[in-house]
Amino acid sequence: MALSAEVTADPALRLPSDAGLTEEGMQPGLAGRVLLLACGALAHEILALKKANGWSHLDLQCLPAKLHLYPDQIVTAVEAAVLERRADYDQIFVVYADCGTGGLLLKKCKELGVEMVEGPHCYSFFEGNAVFAEKAEEEFTAFYLTDFLVRQFDAFVWKPMGLDRHPELRDMFFGNYTKLVYQAQINDPALDAKAEACAARLGLAYERRFTGYGDLATTLTRVAE
């Protein structure tokens, strides 16, 4: 797997650009007892939690966020990374939810003897799995974006769906949605404005909802302890 930055224990120095996290991921620092094997879309949030809590024993490796475009590849990539890294750490924790794998990632993690984040996807665990499930009945026509997805909207949504080349397809993809919900992990007016612009491009109503790190924080706290 191509990784974009050189090995260094300081995650801030290793953190690639958002485009790098989407395309290539991030290599581990090979420091610490526990490896968090995460989706590139979660790198900023995990590093923020790590810094805030002083979790120096947790190392971070990210797989390319773009794997979400082909969820079956998540399972293969996670397996390969666990097998490659397991000798280097006491424990590996997979920071993915089901993410469209239809239960196959959980099955693979059980086979490999590693744990993963509970829930269907990051929209759910950022909001809190229980709260998200409660809202599902009335909010199933919402299209969600997180901080990372707002920043990477073109790379993750607009271009892969061919809307840069064929904007006429927009309503075939989004015609059944009614609103875009921006789940904000941090308060950033620039991201808020961009998210609102994304909603307009998709022809959807806009709602901003501050979630913070939700169940990601509680899950990683448990892992860190």
Binding site: D98, G100, G102, G103, G162, H166
Partner: protein, 232 residues
């Protein structure tokens, strides 16, 4: 194709025109497909032959290249739009000329799921293969499915879901059909990105269909088996 603009469809022989229509379908060229369909009809082709030899055969190539990772969803949608335009011309004519009927399907996405691109492709390809399709649209409750089964008396029930959170609802529908003693009357096919064969078996569906082409082939084979059983 460099000289694409120079091609005049009406000057091509039948065989050349059909191949050109396969190319045009691949490229999602709606107007060219409409023109090609009209030319073949003017030349005395039956609507059924135009449908199967020009449109369905072309869309089968698109489906195979999608499966093999050569084409992606946007290209498939453009091709589907082009095919839909051709089918719009053929549909009333097919009804008049009595094309072979393979069977009937009721299809819809499950409750809580609004993602209908895959479902629409399956519905279109099933129609192209000679099935009558009653499309229930999106977000269907078990009651809506059962109502449609009673009213339409199809051979097949098709259910689709894109979300891990909504796909278990397929089991709710199948279990309710079992409770009501009507499960065995229908062939149940399921599909959607997060599904797999194991899931299909676990919930009691007859088959999981990976894509629209597989759905058509699976439907044909189950319907043929069903008819053979009835005939035996």
């Amino acid at each position: 194709m460099a000289d694409e603009e120079d091609i005049i469809l009406s000057e091509l022989s039948d065989d050349e025109l059909v191949l050109q229509m396969h190319d045009d379908l691949y490229d999602g060229l709606k107007e060219e497909i409409e023109e090609g369909v009209s030319i073949l009809l003017e030349r005395g082709w039956t609507p059924y032959d135009v449908l199967t030899k020009a449109l369905v055969a072309g869309m089968t190539i698109v489906g195979a290249d999608f499966r093999d990772g050569i084409l992606f969803v946007p290209e498939v949608l453009l091709a589907a739009n082009a095919m839909k335009a051709g089918m719009a011309i053929l549909k009333p004519l097919l009804a008049e000329t009595g094309a072979p009927r393979m069977g009937k399907m009721v299809i819809g996405t499950v409750k809580g799921d609004i993602h209908d691109i895959g479902k629409n492709l399956v519905a279109m390809m099933m129609e192209g293969a000679g099935f009558e399709v009653k499309d229930l649209g999106i977000n269907n409750s078990v009651e809506k499915y059962l109502e449609a089964l009673e009213a339409e008396q199809p051979d097949i029930l098709g259910m689709s879901a894109l979300l891990t959170t909504t796909m278990p609802y397929m089991k709710v529908v199948i279990d309710t059909m079992k409770e009501k003693g009507m499960r065995e009357e229908y062939i149940v096919l399921v599909g959607g990105a997060p599904l797999n064969e194991e899931f299909g078996k676990a919930i009691g569906a007859d088959a999981y269909c990976r894509d629209a082409a597989v759905a058509v082939e699976t439907a044909k084979s189950f319907v043929a088996r069903k008819h053979n059983q009835i005939g035996a």
